[in-house]
Amino acid sequence: MKKFPTEQLKCWNEAKNLRKSYYENYLNAHEKGGVRWAGGAWSFSSIPAGLGEDVYSLTGEPYGATIAFFKDFTAKCHEATEAAGFPRTLCAYMRNYWGSILLDKYILADGKVIDEHPAPDFIWQDHICCSHGKWYQVARWLEEKKGKKVPMYCVDVSVGYPMDKPLEEYKINYIFQQLNDGVEWLEKVTGREYDDKLLCEAVWNEINATRLWADICTLNQAVPAPLDEKSMYSLYVMGTLMKHRPECVAFYEKLKAEVEDRVRRGIAAVANERFRVITDTQPPWGFLRIFREMEKYGVVSLGSLYTYGLIGMWKYRPDGTWATKDLPPRKPQTREEALRMIVEWTVDRPEWAHFYLPEAKTKMILSIVKQWKVDAVLLHYNRGCEGLSVHIAENRHGLVEAGVPVFPFEGNMGDEREFDLPGTLARLTTFFESMGLKKLRE
């Protein structure tokens, strides 16, 4: 059996540290006179950047995932939200997040739990999934019960997806106008003066960071794959936390160079690579072990439309292949230009396509299957996230029709009560065996 050389990622620790200080910076923002805000990982984070260099955010989904990673704390969060009367079928990240407020505790990236949940100075969110706006509306309601008034602004982006032709101007305009009002709103609620130059910087950073991530994902087309999905989870997260910040751009530049080097030298993520899969939607965070189990069969997961397309920005080339989206002709110079640019950049985020058109997502997954030389797709029917699970059965359908082997499994990215590890592993290994694979070692 052929074995590829492997190596630890060199920038691994830097990734860890960046993530660690992100949560600390938010916590300690006030000590240095800074501002802190909360919102989703998809919110237009470059807009609040115009308030100054000392503005720190806490994005809800990665925070919810961090909670999910520490099972004792998650259990307490769920208990608290259920005690408050919320149904347990709701978005698991959202329930984790509310639980943290209800318990009045804050968890850091390393699992350290701190007393008192640091309330944001304002909420800056956008809305595409049923839960986005409601998530923070309730967060705000919960804060208010604790005596903290948190103003909230939420931008509606659910105007459709530009599949074959660009969105109509009035749709872009609707989002643009909301952002434009949002700038004034930010000034009002923080009492700060808004700096358009910082905005332009942030928008440009975001565009670069999201292109870089697509470049990095593209490198995984190599055989053997230089990265596996489990590691990518720790790397793409930078984009969900601070896609608009210079640190993010710098880190992705470094990472890209390292991965290019790995490809040149034939360094593999999984030494036994002989079967390549991709997944879909967030994994059950408390059970990343499944990836280790997969390796025992020589299976490497190269990523997913989720890890590639949530942060990475892509386009179709005329020949039908999928590639990094083109850089706009020049850096924005004015507020208007910056806002329009970021709206136009964002509306075709791949991870938004499936909300509207199942065909669009199937097409993207098929592109990945082809270009990344994928043997099978593991679809996580994720009970914790209706947003990413919407239309997933249609995607399965589309893939099967295209002749791609698919393994669907049920779980929940943030509520371990809904994930059956032994059962899933048993079915997963059955799947691998039905694909003619055998376990390599115990």
Binding site: A393, R396, V400, P405, V406, P408, F409, E410, D420, G423, A426, R427, T429, T430, F431, E433, S434
Partner: protein
């Protein structure tokens, strides 16, 4: 060449002794007790006794089913290989019905749907997750609530033409719904039909995930229940074939795989 297939399910162990992919020399089954290896050995011995064969005349044994690991490389059976149920199911069903494209296997605790490809290979499959409400145990629990034997459930159901929906999704609550139905003086025939309908609905919705392509075969212990077939046909809107000894199909598949492995 004689091979054997052993299918150790959640409830029953089934054994098929096979000669050259043609002759089934013997089959036997028995309850899986606390000690899996012991139960399996007993059933295995029963099969041997039916033929006057000895263990060492059997060239290769392949095991499948939930308890397959317990006899993997363990004497006296010494199963040389273990395979998941869906692979054995597909193989066995394909052997009996070469035109089969979809196999539905309903056992004591698991229901499975398998799409069969060329030469009896698995193309796609689905197994029920989390809730036992769509398998044989469900029927057994309901039989107990009705105070009838599980073999009587099917014949009872066939006598009824009423459609009473069962609301509860859970085995145990369904039991209480059955109790409520008894309280409201619904006949055992109608209740039994309602139970079969509910179970067929659950199995159908699971199988539909992989899609139904003709020919369709129903195997596993529950296939012996004559009351289960009509509602399943109706739900899936298709003809369904049931081989003669549906409970042994997995074991037969294992024996066939044993032969293939030897041939290589």
């Amino acid at each position: 060449m004689i091979t054997a297939g052993v299918d150790i399910g959640a409830k029953y162990a089934k054994i098929v002794l096979l000669e050259d992919a043609k002759n089934i020399l013997a089959n036997a089954n028995g309850i899986v007790g606390f000690d899996i290896l012991k139960s399996a050995t007993e059933v295995f011995q029963k099969a041997l006794d039916n033929t006057s064969l000895k263990r060492d005349q059997i060239v290769h044994v392949v095991a499948t089913g939930m308890g397959r690991k317990a006899i993997h490389m363990k004497p006296p059976i010494n199963a040389g290989e273990i395979v998941p149920e869906v692979i054995a199911d597909a193989k066995g069903a394909y052997h009996l019905i070469p035109t089969v494209k979809t196999v539905i296997d309903v056992g004591a605790e698991e229901g499975r749907g398998v799409k069969v490809g060329e030469n009896g290979k698995v193309r796609d499959f689905v197994i029920n997750e989390r809730c036992a409400a769509g398998a044989g145990t469900f029927m057994e629990t309901m039989a107990r609530a009705l105070e009838v034997g599980v073999e009587d459930m099917g014949p009872l159901a066939l006598k009824s033409t009423k459609a009473i929906p069962m609301n509860a999704q859970c085995c145990v609550f369904a039991e209480s719904e059955v109790v409520t139905l008894i309280h409201s003086k619904t006949s055992k025939e109608d209740i039994s039909k309602a139970i079969h309908d509910a179970m067929a609905g659950r199995i159908a919705s699971m199988v539909l995930r992989v899609g139904v392509e003709k020919d369709v075969a129903l195997i596993g212990g529950v296939a012996r229940n004559p009351g289960f077939l009509p509602p399943l046909k109706k739900e899936l809107n298709t003809e369904i074939l049931v081989p003669e000894h549906p409970q042994y199909v997995g074991a037969l598949g294992a024996a066939l795989l044993a032969l293939e492995m030897e041939a290589k």
